[in-house]
Symmetry: none
Subunit: 281 residues, 2 copies
DNA sequence: GGGGTAGCGTAACAAAAATTACAGTATTGA
DNA sequence: TCAATACTGTAATTTTTGTTACGCTACCCC
């Protein structure tokens, strides 16, 4: 947009023929400027050298130089978030994938129905409580989702820990858990006995448990403060965890939006630090 | 948008060097296409005639002809309704979950369209190749999905390794990579420089790269054998990885179904062992 | 009213871009 | 393993494009 503004600002000081060029350009922004000098001159009803004098007056070294700036301009506009959403529109179709994804979409819908609003809100509240620590862990496959959630939640609030996958070290990690702490457990079908046991231990330590499970409910549900069921059945060799991830993301988003302005500023700062000091160390 | 659509559709049928051109173009759409052949060729790491053959294959008379279409494309997009004023939508605290899931479902649909069938098949073929090792890794957030995929793939076939999150140990792990090995990389927006670097190292070691990225394509796309784009934009604080996970699951399912009976029997045995000797002891 | 200046376009020129020809190199199938 | 085919890059060629030189016209100020 910079170029357009610049031209509009200069409009008053331009000689007649060059003003015609400016008008032609603005009326056909940006495509005509990405074309050749001859075309722009023709559209403006003037000559090539006039176009050249025009861009020179704007301070550009050459016509290609002017076009470079213009391309950058266009790029910036097309890359803005909303344009992007649109430009990702219909592309080629992949029937097999589409069918597969349709099943998953059905899972999402079913999950949305299975999770009651009050439970969802209660879950968000648990996660938003910054006075206590928050422990996150999952089972054989869902541990990855636990890690994903922890990575995000850590940015939003302090005291987030992901119980790492080594079951042997769980006991040690348990020592840090204090009454009132929040524990997020992911546990779906073929409920792992060790995970269930750990749930019991957490309850003993008076942790408040947020359980994310399937509609058949892991045994942990009995002692959980909040239970969110996800539909995982997808007619596949293995269950699908997509709905679980979607729910986790929804929680993350809801919690991050609920933050105070101060907290959001801190979050932004964290992010900036992260990207300004690229990893590699 | 017609042009992007057309290129995505043709991606599978393009020869290697031309595919690199397509990737470079999509990753820098539209500005690079409005520039010169030489620049596009340089960005794609190939030669001018290849670019020319690329546009010829797409059905254009000449490069200027191609640019004319592209300009029209850009013009159409920039001139469309000014819904740009609408900045990041207000947070409706009503049925948060349903609205949220609807967005995600749209992502899934868009992803199904963005992934061409032939590319998907090519990806499955890479993953099914049991003669070589398979390395899986992801970025800051996507590493969790990499772990998830590895956990499943490990059951289906031998020689699956998840590059663990410690960037400092990557170099060591690289030593094991042999020519022809398959590397699955997850890399989405805010492409991590260290991950890109690692991609280059993998290419040097002649690994075949399967890249899962967003529609703007990580720089790694230039040297990847197969590229699968996922729509991640969800009008949230962070991008959504749901489509990525869904795609990963689709790949896993497709590969597991393609196994021979013998292999499937072995798989079943593995699973039985896992559950009959429950961990936790 | 005449010298001077700024604006403009035609046409020659120079630079660059696109295109083609060709030769070397993989890849595929017999 | 060999032949045939497809793919790719280098280099020469042609075309297009941007740029400059120059002369004409209109206007302003002295």
């Amino acid at each position: 947009m910079a170029i357009r503004e610049q031209i509009q600002a200069a409009l008053g000081t331009l000689p007649g023929a060059e003003k015609k060029v400016a008008h032609a350009f603005l009326a056909n922004y940006p495509s005509i400027g990405l074309s050749t000098i001859a075309e722009l001159a023709a559209l403006a009803g003037t000559s090539a050298p006039t176009v050249l004098r025009f861009v020179a007056r704007l301070g550009f070294e050459s016509y290609p130089d002017f076009q470079r700036m213009l391309r950058a301009d266009v790029q910036a506009q097309l890359m803005s978030p909303l344009e992007r959403a649109r430009s990702t529109g219909p592309l080629t179709d992949n029937p097999a994938l589409k069918a597969s994804f349709a099943d998953i979409a059905a899972n999402l819908e079913a999950t949305a129905k299975a999770v009651s609003e009050s439970e969802f809100e209660a879950a968000c509240e648990l996660l938003s409580d910054q006075k206590t620590a928050c422990y996150i862990l999952g089972g054989r496959f869902t541990d990855a989702i636990a890690a994903y959630m922890a990575a995000h939640l850590r940015i939003i609030r302090p005291n987030v820990r992901h119980f790492d996958g080594q079951t042997s070290t769980w006991r040690d990690q348990l020592l840090d858990v204090r009454p009132g702490d929040v524990a997020v457990l992911f546990d779906i079908r073929r409920y792992q006995s060790d995970l269930v046991r750990l749930g019991e231990l957490l309850v003993e330590r008076k942790a408040r448990i947020l359980l994310i499970t399937d509609p058949w409910l892991s045994p942990i549900a009995r002692s959980a403060r909040v239970v969110l069921p996800c539909v995982v059945d997808a007619n596949r060799t293995w269950d699908s965890s997509v709905a679980i991830l979607a729910l986790a993301e929804a929680l993350i988003d809801r919690v991050s939006r609920a933050q105070s302005d101060a907290a959001r500023a801190r979050m932004q700062t964290l992010e900036d630090i992260h990207w300004n000091n690229p990893p590699g160390r």
